[in-house]
């Protein structure tokens, strides 16, 4: 028993540290959050001030670069005329469906490529080809094949999303240490249980890193598809602003796009914080 007491010696101290850390951790996000809001506000203020000053001092014509107030008005008009939500909702839905669908396809393909050496060797050249080719270049082809429809839009998003997820899955599944996979054999885990209890959690850091890239790619895909072929969505608003020489509307659409991008990235980061609690 002597060793038990010896080892319990440092234990309470460590525990106190952890408890203290917990209390601090509870305060930290609150303060960190306030600081982050202030920093963001400061950045925005600087951009808006510089923008405003440049437009007024250099006397830039409104059709090239309207002042912030005009863009704000264009944005407000979208809201009051009830145009914002249909367009925004359409784009968000496409991004969400494309991201989820592309991720599932990507993870599945990543698992198959990881599990079978033969499949991996057969598919490797195709994967390199797909990776190297600028996927945006195939967008017109997709429109040609699938028409000006949702299908071509989803095809583009899926094409952009699946690759980073496949790559991340293959990397992540390799992250299981040799001893842990031996343990899986000793415990006689079924393939499915092994995937669920060991492989997927082990691959989670890599999967989330992939998802951060994939969510941005999903947005690029969605905007681009709308730009090319849709009659709805934020991409379409940009086209509308452009063709009608409505620069404030164009810029408002760009600002919304950036906001959507930040939202998507923020959601994945949030998921990362929750799912990778153990690694912090």
């Amino acid at each position: 028993m002597s060793t038990g007491t010896v080892t319990r010696g440092p234990a309470p101290r460590e525990e106190r540290d952890r408890a203290g850390g917990g209390a601090r951790a509870r305060n930290r996000p609150a303060r960190g959050f306030a600081v982050r809001i202030l920093t963001t506000a400061a950045y925005l203020a600087v951009i808006l001030a510089a923008w405003y000053l440049y437009v007024t001092l250099a006397d830039v014509p409104s059709f090239l670069l309207p002042e912030p107030g005009e863009v704000w008005d264009a944005g407000r008009e979208l809201v009051t005329e009830g145009q914002l939500w249909p367009h925004l909702g359409y784009t968000l839905r496409n991004i969400a469906l494309g991201f989820v669908g592309g991720s599932l396809v990507g993870i599945l393909l990543g698992w198959v490529l990881w599990a079978s050496r033969t499949v991996r060797e057969i598919f490797a050249p195709y994967m390199v080809l797909l990776q190297a080719a600028p996927k945006i270049a195939v967008a017109p082809l997709l429109v040609l094949w699938f028409g000006l429809s949702l299908t071509s839009q989803y095809a583009l998003i899926l094409l952009l999303v699946f690759f980073p997820m496949t790559a991340a899955t293959m990397l992540g599944l390799r992250d299981v240490p040799a001893d842990v996979s031996t343990l899986g054999r000793l415990l006689h885990l079924s393939r499915w249980r092994y995937l669920r209890t060991i492989q997927l959690p082990a691959a989670m850091p890599a999967l989330l890193a992939g998802a951060k890239i994939a969510v941005i790619d999903a947005m690029t895909g969605a905007f681009l598809a709308e730009y090319l072929s849709a009659d709805r969505g934020l991409g379409y608003l940009m086209v509308l602003g452009n063709t009608q020489n409505d620069t404030p509307l164009l810029i408002a659409a760009v600002v919304l796009t950036v906001a959507v991008g930040l939202l998507g990235f923020g959601l994945v980061s949030l998921a990362e914080r929750r799912l990778l609690r153990w690694s912090r």
Binding site: G4, R8, P177, L183, L186, H188, L189, T197
Partner: protein, 249 residues
């Protein structure tokens, strides 16, 4: 003590990368009795870990016979401790320890109780809710031992389980293991390259030689089963350890 496992004429030859044949194990015989602690000791490359993996059922490509009085059931009767703790970092200590029970679909209160007892036995009750990252190296290895015992396997196999620990922690874990043995009376096969570790822990020490891997001799440890840190100071302890060291040269 009744016979538990008989290793009979185990041999293994593999082909090295350059095409030459390497004899990893050559005609190895070993008897393990129920409730006994057997140490396998030898230089690196003598095949002691290979032999342990064969007993664990991880390596089935060999000649000879492993005769069990009762054949181990897959996933239930083998407890294995690696040199590294190999805990799952995303699981708390408690959920790591209960991994084996979970794999068997055992959600009984008895299983949960057993996990609690084992955590207590290895002094980790206060850390049941901690993640492995928050533990010291010694505590992680204790958790790994508890995990190997949680589903009540019939034999515990340990592959240099204390090799990665510092000397002080190692000594403590030796006493922990003896305490665990006193409570559970598990049959244990322990691979080690430390003569002191083998002497302190084992009932029986099998000395192996390398290239080809053979068992050179099997010695009964001439010490009482009840061992305390004082045992290390006995002349008989030093004598036996010295004899083992000479055999290894």
């Amino acid at each position: 003590m009744s016979a538990f496992l008989s290793v009979r004429g185990i041999s293994k030859t593999y082909t090295a990368a350059n095409g030459s044949k390497v004899v990893a194990l050559d005609d190895v015989d070993l008897d393990v009795a129920e409730g006994e602690i057997v140490a396998l000791i030898g230089p690196s490359g003598c095949g002691k870990s290979t032999l342990l993996r064969m007993v664990a059922g991880l390596d089935t490509d060999f000649g000879g016979e492993l005769a069990w009085t009762v054949e181990p059931r897959p996933g239930k009767d083998i407890g294995f401790v690696f040199q590294e703790p190999a805990l799952l970092p995303w699981r708390t200590v408690r959920r790591n320890v209960s991994l084996g029970l979970e794999a068997q679909g055992d959600k009984s209160p008895k299983g949960r109780e057993r996990v609690g007892e084992l955590l207590d036995l290895v002094g980790l009750t206060d850390f049941a809710g901690s993640f492995p990252k928050e533990l010291s190296g010694g505590m992680r290895q204790r958790a790994a031992i508890a995990r190997a015992l949680a589903y009540d396997p019939r034999i515990l196999l340990m592959d240099e389980p204390f090799g990665a620990l510092d000397a002080i922690t190692r000594d403590r874990l030796h006493d922990d293991l003896l305490r665990i043995w006193a409570t559970t009376r598990k049959t244990i096969i322990l691979v080690t390259h430390s003569v002191e570790e083998a002497t302190y822990l084992a009932d029986k020490v099998a000395v192996m030689t390398a290239r080809p891997g053979r068992i050179k001799a099997v010695h009964e440890v001439p010490l009482d089963r009840d061992r305390t840190p004082r045992t290390r100071q006995l002349p008989r302890f030093a004598e036996f350890a010295g004899m083992l060291r000479q055999e290894l040269e």
